[in-house]
Symmetry: C3
Subunit: 276 residues, 3 copies
């Protein structure tokens, strides 16, 4: 079973390289450069555009849309909704990263609006964000998951991701020490990564961009979510082995390196994925 | 006396690591990624949020607020004022970086507004920016200090920082070849750093984020300002020794590395701090 | 002839280092940090400012203005037009990077507005963007040139750049595998660079910032455009030789390193430039 998913991810990865999908991002200004570079590193092509007067046009020429509310504002929220609705009309996959959901009413309301008005292909967040979306008690620490939420347990996480996946008809991914991905029918556990990733801003955002890149190349969104998360986790591991002791600046650079060097053999060798 | 301050800084540094304070930034889009990464590197947690509808909520859950007008606009200036006033109500420390004060009427007026409406804990700028705030002749070169201002002398600088500290009831820090930090009673001179830092954008902004991280963990803002500036200076020195000859891209990365590797021993070994 | 241009570029390069021109950027939030750092690396000084209430003031103290529509919006487009018109009044050179022209009506209309209202010194784009401006069939792929446009041929490219240069009274530069620079009278071909540059976001934007830096130091805009493009191409080559196998994160860092290490000898040794 494990091998089945690794083979599917490898195939999807090859399709990213072959198709080089254009991935439209409406995202935050903190990690946007890393999102663009990691999209290129995986073999896709990024375009960032957030003016309401062009987002529908840009989405229309793209193969996937990534929405990320890391530094949302009134102008960009309207653009996200317009782009999301356009993507739905054209059956272009939409990936949503509810950064900081739970941390402010604005983020909560915007998350609800996007979930209500846009049919997502993949929703990816940390445990606090996804617990908020599930209507559970969540104690976010800004844009990071709180320790209490992280320790709420794997079984609970699987249950939450399944419930969310069914409720919103999308793949729901919770990233953390063990990543959980569910389409409501199948729930996968992914165990790559390193704690050092939390010392660099934007590893969640970059993961979402990688998922968006996969979604631009395959219609199997469970595999796309697993593929993006595996890429990020494996890249983090490889980077940590190589330069983890040098510090977080070196690790940051090495993560992009590792994604740009990713290949099928590395997936075979490193990927840790199994059904829950 | 020197040893007293180093010990205080070391203690504050340990408190940053223990408390991991959330530091709310309303800052510019040029150096924001570096500000987030250096905040993580020192052991704190960054959150960037600038929409007027959420800044008060985000400030409320934070341990410090950093205001930086590097790429100010009408929308973000209003957000800065609202967040600053909220921070004051909740007694959350506010650190202000008046980037480019003196370079345009907008920056001048905004700087004045923030100084008037928000009680600061620390004000950090280069010699041109602080001279402008002091009402002295200042000839800024965009966002960098002019040579004339830099050469206006250390004694004058000490006097200015003391005057500003007393006038605004905050710690006033002027960073340059010798950094000057004053709370109006005590004035400290810090001599770490390297000229190579001026070849990388955002070293001033990053320094301000480090000060914000310290302010989130200690109420001794003189020590917090000294701690943040020492971290940046020592990190710059260490990075320059290691990769200074490779070029400014490598130095940029190595500065983040050095901050993420900072520890009490390094402060003891390297910190150059004494009262004026 | 080749030697003549290399000598002129070397002289202009020295002038950048001597004059350290302030270069006002109104640019996108994706690659802005790299634009600032590469401007510093070449020896100039960047300032990013986009609020309509200050752009004229900032342009007035600058030696060159760079306009880049990578993430344009209503607010920044107005700022670009105001800054451009101010620059024209003060005879400050303006460099324009029409990122993604052809990809949306907003980008097309904005490009036309800037071309109509602002007298440019240099226009730099990829083959799809410049073909769009020339009114030719263009099939942009987001912010990257399409394969069809890239393969439209060198002779056609020379003809297009000459025509555009004459029509808009500026230097027109098309960057790609072979870069083409024309002032309508002389057309130069530049052959430095590496395909690996396309794996990093913002190499086009950085190239435009380098051109802006040169324009702030010399009035010979043909030489300025050639100089900026040569710097970027040579830096890319040197970086690829050094760390190309490590991955795109390392290459990114090494490009900035190479620009910060650029000198006259390296131009003599590496520059490949000749008249068409």
């Amino acid at each position: 079973m494990e091998i089945k998913y690794i083979e599917k991810v490898k195939k999807a990865f090859e399709m990213v390289h072959t198709k080089k999908p254009l991935v439209h991002h409406i995202t935050n200004y903190v990690t946007v450069n890393d999102c663009a570079n990691i999209t290129l590193a995986i073999g896709a092509s990024p375009i960032m555009a957030d003016d309401i007067r062009e987002v529908e046009a840009i989405t229309s020429i793209s193969s996937a849309l990534v929405l990320n509310i890391g530094t949302l504002n009134e102008r960009t929220v309207q653009a996200m909704l317009a782009a999301g609705e356009k993507a739905n009309k054209l059956e272009i996959p939409v990936v949503f990263d509810p950064v900081g959901a739970g941390a402010s009413e604005l983020r909560n309301r915007t998350t609800e609006q996007i979930l209500e008005k846009v049919q997502l292909s993949v929703l990816r967040g940390n445990m606090s964000e996804i617990r908020f979306i599930a209507g559970l008690e969540a104690s976010t620490k800004g844009v990071d998951a709180s320790d209490a939420d992280i320790n709420s347990g794997l079984a609970a996480g699987c249950s939450i991701s399944e419930t969310i996946a069914k409720k919103y008809g999308c793949v729901a991914a919770i990233t953390g020490e063990t990543d959980i991905v569910s389409d409501g029918q199948h729930t996968l556990l992914l165990e790559n990564g390193t704690k050092l990733l939390s010392g660099i801003t934007g590893t969640g955002c970059m993961c979402t961009s990688l998922i968006g890149s996969f979604c631009g190349a395959t219609e199997d969104f469970l595999v796309a979510a697993a593929g993006g998360i595996l890429c990020m986790g494996i890249a983090g591991e490889a980077a940590a082995e190589k330069v983890g002791k040098e510090g977080s600046g070196s690790l940051h650079k090495a993560i992009i390196d590792s994604v740009s060097n990713m290949n099928a053999e590395i997936f075979t060798k490193r990927a840790k994925i199994h059904e829950a």
